[in-house]
């Protein structure tokens, strides 16, 4: 069963259906398609995570399960060999977690999108395209395929912000577009470089050897030829497959990327440069300070559901890319640059927290809190131990849930007040009690209270970074602790200003006049599951940790050979 392909294809099918229908069939139709598609992918992503599907259908290769591998294209470049790209999908624990997160956030955001009334067809088409690209990005194990999905997320997001956004939508969407585009251009360089330098040992071996020999012999032949420098260009097959690129045996001994090669530029090895390009490219997406300024603008202008997807899923692709590709291909460089990664993480945590404290706009406050919380992901990665890495992935998952909840809640408030100013609304505890209850859950989850998922993540990251003080520095965990204190300061200060006191609205409505309608059934339906999820993953972290463990230990083996 091509389970993973279903995740990518179902939204595309939905897209085809809705393209085929004229606008005049009505908004209901397009909404139904969107909901149907996202509900189906949600079920599939839960099933994938919880192993509902018979394992006999599942192909396991190199530690990834549900592998689907087809030749995509093969181009002969005279004098250089051939380039072969694959439609290669597969999952390990990390991608399962990210797919589950995407399934949840996309489905709930599609529910939240029911309030969109203008250009519903366009909106749902863009949403579907985005969904497909999101799943593709988390499933692709061929770097070129990944790159295509990665780029494809950009376009629908650009239009979703640019068309359905707020007052400064053009500005925000363009800023988002440029930043992300540059990020993806940066990661294209190491992708191409790795491919140029490595061979596909199986395909190359097949050209070198008689048909009847074992595959291991073929691989052996290819690698021997490579190391003896006897490989002719017409026999060489270059690849984009992750597990071939990450194996240094597939590099020629005189390759610029060979770990023993002393090739340097500006004092940094070529492998170092490639790692850094990957890292910066993905770091823009996370985002890290000082490459984060696209984020607050994009968030403020984007509609609530799109903000939820942006914070809940798209930022995670940055962290995912670093772990999967940057570390996957250049593990030695991750150790080399751990201190830099940790420093940027610590700066993001503290700086994001400080700027969040200064915000007067609640959506910006949440956006900067994202910058701060995503810093934990980098700090966890920099620790290079099992606690840190597990914590980093846990934080991506947990922050995905919590930030989506926060943005959806802010959206609910905005629909009533049309005001993002923190000082523009008071006394919400009294005027919207149920809404306030959910905000309390979201805020305390966000500031890392125990028994919420954020606590598990921050605990693990801090344990990891405390364990790594010998290689990093005690400054890093201390910065993280300062960040946690800041988070309680900015969140509770906001809470105090908006929720305490007598109800009051901008424009001078006071008391009973400032009464706002509380949560509708629809609003409950897309916020409550997230609130419950953050509690569930705080109470039973094993649900996620046991899935992550088999994926994290091989990464650690490459990091500590």
């Amino acid at each position: 069963m091509p389970l993973l392909s279903y995740l990518i294809i179902i939204p595309l099918l939905g897209l085809l259906c809705s393209l085929a229908m004229p606008e005049k069939v009505g908004a209901k139709f397009f909404r139904a398609i969107l909901l149907l598609s996202s509900a189906t992918t949600l079920v599939l992503s839960i099933g994938l995570y919880a192993n509902w599907f018979p394992m006999c259908d599942c192909k396991i290769e190199n530690g990834y399960s549900w592998v689907e591998n087809y030749q995509w294209f093969n181009i002969e470049v005279p004098g250089f060999g051939s380039f072969s790209a694959h439609y290669l999908l597969g999952v390990d624990g990390i991608s399962k977690a990210m797919v589950l997160l995407s399934g949840i956030v996309l489905f709930l955001s599609s529910l939240a999108s029911l309030t969109i009334t203008k250009q519903v067809k366009l909106y749902s088409n863009l949403f579907l395209l985005l969904s497909s690209a999101v799943f593709g990005s988390f499933l692709a194990l061929d770097l070129l395929l990944f790159y295509v999905f990665f780029e494809f997320m950009l376009l629908p997001m650009f239009f979703l912000i640019g068309i359905f956004g707020g007052a400064r939508k053009e500005y925000a969407s363009l800023k988002f577009f440029i930043y992300t585009l540059v990020g993806s251009l940066l990661i294209l360089v190491p992708i191409l470089m790795s491919s140029f330098q490595s061979i596909d040992p199986i395909a190359t071996g097949e050209k070198l050897s008689p048909k009847e020999v074992f595959i291991s012999t073929k691989i052996q032949n290819a690698r021997t030829a490579l190391s003896l420098n006897t490989l002719k260009p017409e026999q060489t097959v270059h690849t984009f497959t992750l597990w071939h690129l990450s194996n240094t045996e597939n590099l020629a001994p005189d390759s610029l990327l060979h770990p023993l090669m002393k090739a340097e530029y500006l004092g940094i090895s070529i492998r170092g440069w490639m790692f850094l390009l990957f890292f910066i490219g993905f770091a823009i997406k996370i985002p890290i300070v000082p490459l984060h300024t696209w984020l607050p603008d994009a968030h403020v202008e984007a509609p609530a559901a799109i903000s939820a997807i942006l914070a809940g899923i798209l930022l995670k692709i940055g962290g995912y890319g670093i772990i999967r590709f940057a570390i996957g291909i250049f593990p030695d460089q991750a150790i080399e640059w751990a201190k830099l990664i940790g420093t940027l993480g610590a700066i993001s945590i503290v700086y994001g927290g400080l700027v969040a404290l200064a915000q007067t706009n609640i959506k910006k406050m949440v956006a900067f809190s994202s910058v701060s919380h995503m810093g934990f992901v980098l700090l966890g990665i920099a620790s290079i131990n099992v606690e840190g890495l597990s914590g980093a992935v846990y934080q991506m998952f947990s922050h995905g849930i919590i930030s989506a909840l926060l943005f959806l809640l802010v959206g609910i408030l905005y629909q009533r007040t049309h005001n993002y100013e923190i000082d523009g609304t008071k006394g919400l505890l009294k005027s919207m009690p149920a809404f306030s209850g959910l905000v309390i859950v979201a805020f305390f989850a966000s500031l890392g209270l125990p028994l919420f998922s954020g606590f598990i993540a921050e605990l693990l990251v801090l344990l990891g970074s405390f364990k790594a003080i010998a290689t990093l520095s005690v400054v890093f965990p201390i910065a993280a602790i300062v960040g946690i204190i800041l988070s309680s300061a900015y969140l509770l200060w906001t809470f105090q200003r908006m929720f305490f006191g007598t109800p009051w609205l901008t424009g001078g409505k006071v008391g009973a006049d400032a009464q706002l309608p509380d949560l509708t059934l629809l609003e409950w339906s897309y916020t409550l599951p997230l609130a419950l999820a953050t509690i569930a993953y705080g109470l039973f972290p094993d649900w996620l940790l046991s899935v992550l463990a088999p994926a994290i230990s091989p990464i650690l083996r490459t990091l500590n050979p």
Binding site: L354, V355, L459, L462, S473, I481, I485, Q496, G501
Partner: protein
């Protein structure tokens, strides 16, 4: 121990159930039902605790643990289980939390009966009992930390319960953030424990301590210091004490339960729980003794001139917590726990009594507007009197025994601290009797309307008062001094299973002398208060008329809040604003705009093919990357 031990799992679950029912049913359940559910669940936990208590008494040395489930597991590296530890120390605290908790739930039935949010109130109270039980029952520091932060959350919710008053709004946030600073000390201690022992389980750590660590080990010093920072936040010690008086913004039962009897003593409990660690860190103990001493004197001195009935009690709590820490600082752990218990009885009593007064006075808290209440509120008066005698350290009420034991221990260890503690003790007696005289004696100074409304509280409120009064009278007998009895019941009980070290014994003459001095000092405090305020005379002047500069400084709490605002809160906000305005907007935007401008001047041709904005951000990216490259080259030699 017997098979009943698995019942322990139910103890925190019952209040949690109460929280869930009252939380979901808020607005739908009738108020009386919500109150009944809230009270009965806690009472149920109390009964189960009693059953287990019997087991612990019978079982002697054994420490039983009940595992709920594996909480955080990473193979071979980390295994944090959700496990309860039942031994003499935790069972005593569990009795206290559920016992006093039940009384205060009952009291709230009457106190909150007019409040629309009664169901919500009971839900939060139940959540608090749940968190507090997790705190005392947790067998692992991380599990304990769940409760530790959980009580902070409940404290936040309950302080902010009446959030309509603008002056009170900041109190909840202040309490939580200040607690959080301490909490993160606790958290840091957990990480240091992992580095030192590879575990955070209380029993595993004490096993390792015996063999691998010597007294004065720097690792142990840092661990205990960080733990103590946690205790300072939760138990309102200098410098993290200013949140507690503000926390009085919450309803009075909350002040009694959370901010007097249970939550604020969590710090003491935690230190006693970790006594094996602390005993190996003499430097930390020394710091604890002095912090406790400063807090006791400072708190008591501020209490001297306060005119808000709850504020007096709040500063008194700060000061009494300081007494407990002084005891811990001289390694008299069981003595500290003794004072935790007696203090819980009389301070809960005093707060509930104050609540009864406030209730009768139609929410008036200023003692300058009270007076002569003893006739109208007889039960409240008599029980309040018992509480006052108990806290002042006049025998044979509870406070005398525990405070005397602390003072005796201080005397043997550090005479300077002992003298300062005597000063604090004197002030305690003075401000408490001042409060009593101004509130209950003389003539009524309130409005006619208040006078008309004056009434004794209903039985749901007076019953807890009477029960707590009995406990405040006889509670001291669980720890008779050596001159009267060979057996110190509490110390023996704790010493057996919890590994608590009891303080040294003095010879009988010294002990009698010390007792004599401390009683004399308390009585002198009483007499001075009587001479000055007896019969309700010398009512303090209103705030504006205050002329004596020293009184004014003390009355304004030494302006510590203003100082913190000036040196911490303001600078933090300024730093935030600077980050946003200068770095975010000025530096980044200025660089970006500058380049955009250059591009406009230089790149005329380019401009036709691009909108200004694209060029603008392209350049922003380029600058970002150049900064990065510069950073990398430096970072390769960077060492932090």
């Amino acid at each position: 121990m017997d098979n009943n031990i698995s019942l322990a799992l139910l103890i925190p679950l019952l209040p949690l159930l109460g929280f869930v029912i009252n939380g979901i049913g808020f607005g739908k359940l009738p108020k009386a039902l919500a109150g009944t559910i809230g009270t009965l669940t806690v009472f149920g936990s109390f009964l189960i605790t009693l059953v287990l208590f019997g087991g612990v008494v019978a079982g002697g040395e054994t420490i039983s643990s009940v595992k709920a489930y594996d909480w955080i597991t990473i193979t071979d590296t980390l295994n944090i289980t959700f496990e309860y530890r039942i031994d003499s120390l935790s069972i005593i605290m569990m009795l206290l939390v559920t016992g006093v908790g039940t009384l205060i739930h009952l009291y709230s039935f009457g106190y909150m009966s007019h409040d629309k949010g009664m169901g919500k109130f009971f839900a939060f109270l139940n959540l608090f009992i749940f968190s507090m039980l997790i705190l005392v029952m947790g067998s692992d520091y991380v599990t304990m930390f769940i409760g530790w932060e959980g009580v902070g959350l409940c404290s936040f919710l309950l302080i902010g319960f009446w959030n309509q008053n603008r002056a009170y709004n900041a109190a909840a946030q202040k309490a939580f953030v200040m607690n959080r600073i301490g909490d993160l000390g606790f958290l840091a201690a957990i990480f240091l424990m992992y580095n030192a022992f590879g575990t955070s389980s209380i029993s595993e750590i004490s096993e390792q301590l015996g063999t691998n660590f010597k007294s004065g080990d720097p690792q142990i010093f840092w661990i205990t210091l960080c733990l103590f920072i946690g205790a300072m936040g939760k138990s309102a010690q200098v410098p993290l004490y200013t949140w507690l008086p503000d926390a009085m913004a919450g309803p009075t039962p909350v002040s009694a339960l959370i901010h007097a009897a249970t939550m604020v003593t969590a710090g003491i409990y935690m230190v006693v729980r970790s006594n094996v660690l602390f005993s190996l860190a003499p430097d930390t103990l020394h710091i604890i003794a002095w912090v406790g001493c400063i807090t006791a004197v400072l708190g008591a001195s501020i209490g001297l001139f306060q005119n808000d009935i709850k504020k007096v009690l709040a500063y008194s709590t700060v000061s009494q917590l300081g007494f407990m820490f002084m005891a811990l600082g001289v390694a008299a752990y069981s003595t500290g726990m003794f004072h935790v218990l007696t203090h819980a009885f009389f301070k809960a009593l005093l707060f509930l009594g104050a609540g009864s007064v406030i209730h009768a006075m139609s929410d008036e808290q200023d003692i300058r507007k009270m007076g002569g209440l003893w006739k109208k509120l007889p039960i409240t008066f008599w029980t309040f009197l018992i509480g006052t005698i108990a806290i002042s350290g006049i025998p044979p009420f509870a406070g005398f025994f525990s405070k005397d034991e602390i003072l005796a221990n201080l005397y043997t260890h550090d005479k300077t601290i002992w003298i300062l503690a005597m000063v604090a003790s004197f002030m305690t007696s003075f401000y408490m009797f001042r409060l009593l005289f101004l509130t209950f004696f003389g003539s009524f100074r309130g409005t006619e309307e208040q006078k008309h409304h004056l009434h004794e509280s209903p039985l749901t409120m007076t019953l807890p008062l009477m029960l707590l009064a009995v406990l405040s009278m006889v509670g001291g007998f669980m720890g008779l001094p050596a001159v009267f009895s060979e057996h110190h019941m509490l110390a023996d009980f704790l010493g057996k299973a919890a590994g608590v070290v009891h303080g040294e014994h003095l010879d009988h003459n010294t002990e009698f002398m010390l007792m004599g001095i401390s009683v004399a000092i308390a009585v002198v405090g009483l007499i001075i208060a009587f001479v000055r305020y007896g019969g309700g005379k010398n009512v303090p002047v209103s705030d504006e008329q205050m002329t004596n500069p020293i009184t004014k400084v003390v009355y304004n709490k030494y302006y510590v809040d203003e100082l913190y605002n000036l040196i911490i809160v303001k600078p933090l906000h300024i730093l935030g604003d600077i980050s946003m305005l200068v770095i975010e907007y000025l530096v980044i935007d200025l660089v970006v705009n500058g380049i955009a401008l250059t591009s406009r001047v230089v790149g005329l041709g380019l401009r036709k093919s691009q909108t200004g904005s694209i060029g603008f951000y392209m350049y922003a990216m380029v600058i970002g990357i150049i900064l990065f490259l510069a950073y990398f080259t430096m970072a390769s030699n960077l060492s932090l």
